[in-house]
Amino acid sequence: MIMSAKVLVADDSGTMRKIIIRSLNAVGVTDVTEAADGAEALLKFAEEQFDLVLTDWNMPEKTGLEVIEGIRGQGSKVPIVMITTEAEQRRVLDAIRAGVSDYLVKPFQADQLREKIDKLVSV
């Protein structure tokens, strides 16, 4: 079941996308679509069905917060994890209000990310 999950990864850093995809691969997820900014993420989400979305907050074009709002605005209940340096309580609350499912603050251990991915794609 885990291996069939389709995941959208949105981050303007290619380095971070590679780290995230390596963690996805480690739990058996290989069907990954990348987006380098928020607008591209929303475009790709509109084109395909995803089982999980992992998004950065600070990105060009549209922020991760706007990505979450856009996805929830379509009525989707897909799990969304924000992976970001934005650690302040008010930021986390903003993300929760927008509909985020889980939150991971950078820098993070690879194990932390794998645990979240494993939990969400196994449900």
Binding site: T15, I19, N58, T85, E88, K106
Partner: protein
């Protein structure tokens, strides 16, 4: 710039290198930066804005960047390419982001990272906020963190913007 604002940036730098790279850092002595010139050839620059404004510059030795790429990207890289530029930008982003979370009273926002490569490149800090430089040593080589942060004492519209040249 008040020296107490420096600790969150120092701690963020050691935390990012330890967590993401398993690379221990040894901090050198704080000093006021007297020049505009970074000490290394690759600099990740992040602008800070909010109830204070300034710049965070993470300048690293290229050998440190190559080793960081080996760990973070699992790729051997021995030239400064687009992957190295992106990696240094992300390191600067994580350092500035982690530090700003500890300076919550300023309600800071961070800019997207800019990365400057090349010898003798110049970072223009705000003239009213002389940067503090914190050198670090790692098993891979040296790096330097320069932070300039100025609390606003007048409306933001009258503040001199941070510039990168």
């Amino acid at each position: 710039m008040k020296v107490e604002y420096i600790n969150p940036f120092v701690n963020a730098t050691t935390d990012v290198f330890d967590t993401m790279l398993s690379c221990p850092l040894t901090r050198g002595e704080l000093r006021l930066s007297g020049q505009d010139q970074p000490e290394h050839d690759i600099s990740g620059v992040i602008g800070l804005s909010g109830d204070a404004s300034g710049l965070v510059v993470v300048s690293i030795d290229k050998q440190v960047a190559f080793q960081a790429a080996r760990v973070m990207l699992c790729e051997p890289i021995s030239t400064i390419n687009a992957d190295i530029v992106d990696l240094v930008g992300e390191l600067a982003n994580m350092i500035a982001g982690a530090a700003k979370a500890k300076l919550d009273d300023f309600e800071l926002s961070v800019s997207l990272p800019t990365v400057i490569v090349g010898t003798n490149h110049v970072i223009g800090f705000p003239s009213n906020a002389r940067p503090i430089c914190i050198p670090f040593e790692s098993p891979w080589g040296s790096l330097c963190l320069e932070v300039s942060l100025k609390e606003h004492e007048e409306p933001i519209a009258n503040q001199e913007p941070a510039a990168v040249a």
